[in-house]
């Protein structure tokens, strides 16, 4: 069994005591920061990235895995406890999770989210291990034209799932792509849009954009709202564990969510997010058992299913990332950034050139997941206490960690000025109703897209039809087109807007 031996290899690399310790620390830090209201997984990971810089690659990746799961779970925790979704995919969790919390059942909600995620993560890891290799073969069939089309599909996928106006989301992607182009052009060596500022010839740092736009932008926006609108809910948590009845309800929901998440997660472009929404819709469609809470009033299935789907999707979304090097969402984009810093360029080569690292990474993802459950189940009560810290103490701390994080990325004060600039830009985005998530995805993909567009057209001698005539590339673009048409259909459009009203 290749699968088993590969996984064994992975665990032999990843599961050393010192690595487990790093994983534990990562998980702890990820949860601690991720549980802060207003700090989503993206901001958490961005902030904690520098913590891994000094480590050797495998240790760094396993710590990242811990941070990743910690941040994800921390985000779900705030979604449940304070109705603050840290990222788009936990929007669904807030619907029933927060209602459960208000009824004093925050403990079971948190446990359901944790257990559901853990189960989904295990299944996702197995799927990842089983299908990563065949999909890598497929990746070698990808020429520049296919890569370009796939990125178009990924970006369109991100647009489909963004709330609000479609045109605005596309414009934000393009703005991100353009910002990604700032800096020295690899082909000609020309410094583009650098305004003769030497620091800008290296381009704008990803961490700078992420922290400015998400961290500072969010903080300023939060502070500008009256206190009662962002008030955290903390009182009256009773019973930390789901009852037998809860388990009976939640197990089929978790199974359905996991299946949906595993399949949808493979799609580039927000697969995990789509999975969370789809899972909630499916649960809502299934019949209520007698005596069960209706959806929207604190049904445990409404927490367990989307959380499982989200986590399974997050796991399988590593497939496009590891095999094709294409980040499917903003969190994954950050992970790519982190891997690049450790000289790991995600893509089909990693698996063949560095199997230890590849399987080590997959194993560490599972370990991160596992660490999360041991760390967090006993500590649910404590995370709830953390939220009693008033916001006026939290946000200076967040600003401080952002500033230190940004500075330590390059040991360069220029980045601190830049993060202030992006903080202001981020606030403007919030004010004029432009979502920053698509921008971040575009920002990561900008240089890659240009590179592949150039190569594809160079090979085809300037013939644009190459994107449509090559079968793989053509079908990818076709799927992208269909996605776009579906979103534009009036009936879907109104449903989509409805789904996001919850935000």
């Amino acid at each position: 069994m290749d699968l088993i031996s590969n996984l064994m290899l992975g665990f032999s690399v990843a599961a050393t005591p010192i690595n487990l310790l790093y994983c534990f620390i990562g998980c702890l830090l990820g949860t601690l920061i991720g549980v802060l209201p207003g700090v989503g997984p993206v901001a958490t990971i961005a902030m904690l990235l520098p913590a891994t810089y000094a480590l050797p690659p495998v240790a760094a990746l396993i710590m990242l895995a811990g941070i990743y799961y910690g941040a994800q779970y921390g985000g779900s925790t705030t979604a449940i406890l304070v109705n603050l979704p840290g990222e788009a995919s936990s929007v669904v969790t807030t619907i029933d999770g927060y209602q459960m919390a208000r009824k004093g059942r925050a403990g079971p909600a948190l446990a359901a989210a944790g257990l559901g995620s853990f189960f989904a993560g295990c299944v996702g890891t197995l799927i990842l291990a089983a299908f990563a290799a065949p999909l890598t073969e497929l990746a070698f069939k990808f020429g520049p034209a296919e890569y370009f089309s796939l990125m178009v599909l990924g970006l369109i996928g991100a647009v489909v799932l963004a709330s609000g106006s479609l045109v605005k989301a596309i414009a934000m992607i393009i703005l991100g792509l353009l910002m990604g182009l700032i800096g020295t052009d690899v082909n000609s060596g020309v410094a583009r849009f650098s305004f003769d500022i030497p620091e800008l010839t290296d381009g704008v740092g990803f961490v700078v954009v992420a922290m400015g736009v998400f961290g500072y932008g969010e903080i300023i926006f939060n502070l500008s709202r009256p206190e009662d609108e962002r008030e955290v809910f903390t009182s009256g948590v009773t019973g930390l564990f789901p009852t037998a009845e809860d388990f009976k309800n939640m197990i089929p929901a978790v199974l359905r969510g996991t299946a949906l998440g595993s399949v949808l997660g493979v799609l580039p472009g927000g697969g995990a997010l789509l999975a969370a929404f789809a899972a909630y819709t499916v649960e809502k469609k299934t019949k209520l058992r007698p005596g069960e809470m209706p959806f929207g009033q604190g049904n445990i299935r409404g927490v367990a299913a989307p959380e499982a789907a989200n986590n399974a999707g997050a796991q399988t979304s590593f497939i496009p990332l590891l095999t094709l090097g294409i980040p499917p969402n903003a969190v994954m984009a950050l992970m790519v950034g982190a891997m690049t810093i450790h000289n790991v360029q995600p893509g089909p080569q990693v698996m063949t050139s560095n199997p230890q690292l590849f399987w080590g990474l997959i194993a560490s993802m599972w370990l991160g997941n596992f660490m999360l459950i041991i760390l967090n189940l006993p500590l649910i009560g404590m995370w709830i206490k953390l939220l009693t810290v008033p916001y006026r103490f939290l946000f200076p701390a967040i600003i401080l960690f952002c500033a230190v994080g940004v500075y330590s990325t390059n040991n360069n004060s220029f980045d601190i000025w830049m993060v202030a600039v992006f903080g202001f830009i981020g606030y403007i985005f919030v004010k004029i109703g432009c979502e920053p998530q698509p921008l971040l995805l575009g920002f990561i993909l900008g240089p890659m897209m240009e590179e592949n567009l150039r190569r594809a057209l160079l090979l085809s001698r300037g013939d644009w039809t190459v994107f449509a005539t090559r079968p793989l590339s053509g079908s990818l673009l076709f799927v992208a087109l269909i996605l776009l048409v579906i979103v534009l259909l009036p009936s879907v459009k109104s449903k989509r807007e409805e789904a996001f009203v919850e935000e």
Partner: protein, 163 residues
């Protein structure tokens, strides 16, 4: 402002129009090349132009399409903006110093206290002794996490004291 049906769309359209135009215009100063041999200006010109068009569409729809509420942008929270960004900038200035005006580094701990003081001004309530305690707690956390645990290289104390 009655012709504007959606303020948010109006201003975002305007932003995309101007920024897209800016990028497209800036791209023309680099060599464009042909599709087969793209110069550094080709892709930015293409994207900038698309963004300019999208901006125009958004701008147009904000005037043409009727909306239930006018999506008001609302007033800018200048206080929080100034305090949050100001605390960030002063942190940077104090941590590394500004060689151009001969200001030496004041080190991590001074920077933390100044950041906490300025940032806290942005909140609803400012109680000096609470802020000072917060600064002390954060200093301790930063020392443990960044200096001891992660071994980040940064000055801890003001150079004019340690010499």
């Amino acid at each position: 402002m009655n012709i504007i049906k959606s303020q948010k769309d109006f201003f975002s359209g305007l932003m995309f129009l101007i920024v897209g135009g800016g990028f497209a215009y800036g791209a023309t100063s680099y060599s464009i090349g042909t599709a087969a041999r793209m110069g550094p200006g080709y892709f930015p010109l293409l994207l900038g132009s698309i963004m300019l068009i999208l901006g125009a569409i958004i701008l147009f729809s904000s005037i043409a399409l009727e909306r239930p509420n006018r999506d008001p942008v609302g007033s800018f929270a200048w206080g929080p903006i100034l305090y949050v960004l100001g605390s960030n900038i002063s942190f940077g200035v104090l941590l590394v110093g500004l060689p151009s005006i001969g200001l030496p580094s004041s080190g991590l701990f001074v920077s933390i206290f100044v950041l906490t003081l300025i940032a806290s001004k942005a909140g609803d309530k400012f109680v000096l002794h609470e802020v000072l305690i917060l600064g002390a707690v954060l200093s301790l956390i930063c020392y443990l996490a960044f200096i001891l645990l992660l071994k980040l290289q940064m000055p801890m104390w003001p150079v004019y004291i340690t010499g």
